[in-house]
Structure formats: C-alpha cells, structure tokens
Symmetry: C2
Subunit: 124 residues, 2 copies
C-alpha cells in the first residue's frame, strides 16, 4: 500500500504497520525528497552521506545523534539537520520513532555499509 501523492498520510497509522528496527519505510515524496519512518532502539553504525544533508525529526521518544565533536539529544518535536559528509551515529536507549527526510536513493548506512544496511525505497 503506498500513498504516492494521492492521499493524506497519518504518521501514527503508518508507524503501526511495522515493528522492524532500523529499516526506513517511505510514506511520502516531494519532488525527489522522501519522507521515511524508522523505529530505532540501541546503537547504529557510524556513517556519513557524501552527497546530501539528512534530517532527523523525532516523532515519539528520545534519541541521540553522536557526531565526532558533539552529541545532539533529540526528543519528540525536535529535529536536526546532519550536514552532507558529516559522520554520525544514531542511538536510542528506548524505542524511538523517527521521521527521516532526505533525497530518494540515500542508503541508511551511507558510506559504511554492513549488516545494518536496509532495503531502500520501500513504501508503506
């Protein structure tokens, strides 16, 4: 089921459709920019995205984004733009629901790859 540009999207309803961690699901697209939902818990891998900025917007819960020079703590209703090329490591002590906004085609593990790499461009 996709909602590509034809219907409104209820963010909570979309979160209820999956339980997997660290696997972004696309819920909307504006031009070439995708809006993805992801559930996170625990520690992700250090990575960066060479060609694009990336937005994390926390929908519920708390998370941190570790950068090499500081740590950003985000709660529901807060967002942060990770600049292009900046290494970052997301972490959530408890389950956290996040919206990621970034161009179509961006891979979740960026230039690092590895076991946490999720299938890309999966719509719900």
């Amino acid at each position: 089921m996709t909602t590509k540009g034809t219907d409104k999207v209820n963010i909570a309803d979309k979160f209820s459709l999956f339980d997997e961690l660290w696997t972004p699901k696309v819920i909307a697209q504006m031009n070439q920019v995708q809006f993805k939902l992801v559930k996170i818990h625990g520690e992700f891998t250090w990575h960066s995205h060479e060609h694009t900025d990336e937005v994390f917007m926390v929908i519920s819960g708390h998370m941190t984004i570790e950068l090499r020079d500081k740590t950003i703590a985000l709660s529901a209703g807060e967002m942060f733009v990770i600049p292009k090329g900046v290494e970052h490591k997301p972490y959530a002590q408890e389950l956290c629901q996040v919206m990621i906004i970034e161009p179509q085609g961006v891979i979740n593990t960026g230039d690092t790859g590895g076991a946490l790499t999720a299938e890309n461009d999966v719509w719900i």
Copy 2:
C-alpha cells in the same frame, strides 16, 4: 536568530516566537529544501506552484486543503503532498500550526500573488 545547520530545532519553541498568520518562517534547511512554520486561521487564496510539489504537515489543530476536485482534511500528525501545478486553497476554522516543506524560493501565494504574499526566506 537562525539555526542553519548547527543546532537542533524545537518546533514548539519556534512557534512561540511569532503570532502572525500566513507568514512562513524558515526553521531548517536540507540541501535546497526548507522547513517552514506557519500559523493559519481562516481562508487563504487559491494558488499553485508551477515548478514544485509542496508538503503540508499539521503540527497542532486542524486544517483543510481544498483542491478543485476534492477536499483534504488534516489534523495534527497528518501530512499531504500537493503535486506540482495543482491548485489548492488552505483553510483553518481555528488557529492551526503547520510545517511546510518545499524548495527554497517558493512564494506562499504561488502564481496568484496578491495581498497575502509573504516575505520569503525569513528565518527564525
């Protein structure tokens, strides 16, 4: 005060900084895409954006987006992508807080212009 890429952004805090209606304020930017907050109440003008899609995400309250062939009702936690070139008229019976996501340079009244046209690219 801007937060261009250096700090986290708290959406509620940013809404507390202004009361004007129909005047989008930029709070973040990802590549060339801007995240704008706007307070709306009453009826806007029919307009379209020839060159881009536009996202409305309701943060608090309720709004409708009238299209020529249907009306989209949005509440907090819901979003809608208005496709490029599609005429739309936002409306809110009571005060509603909205995040708009669209490329830098998009004018709020699109191809229509008029008295409701807001200054563009204003950061808070």
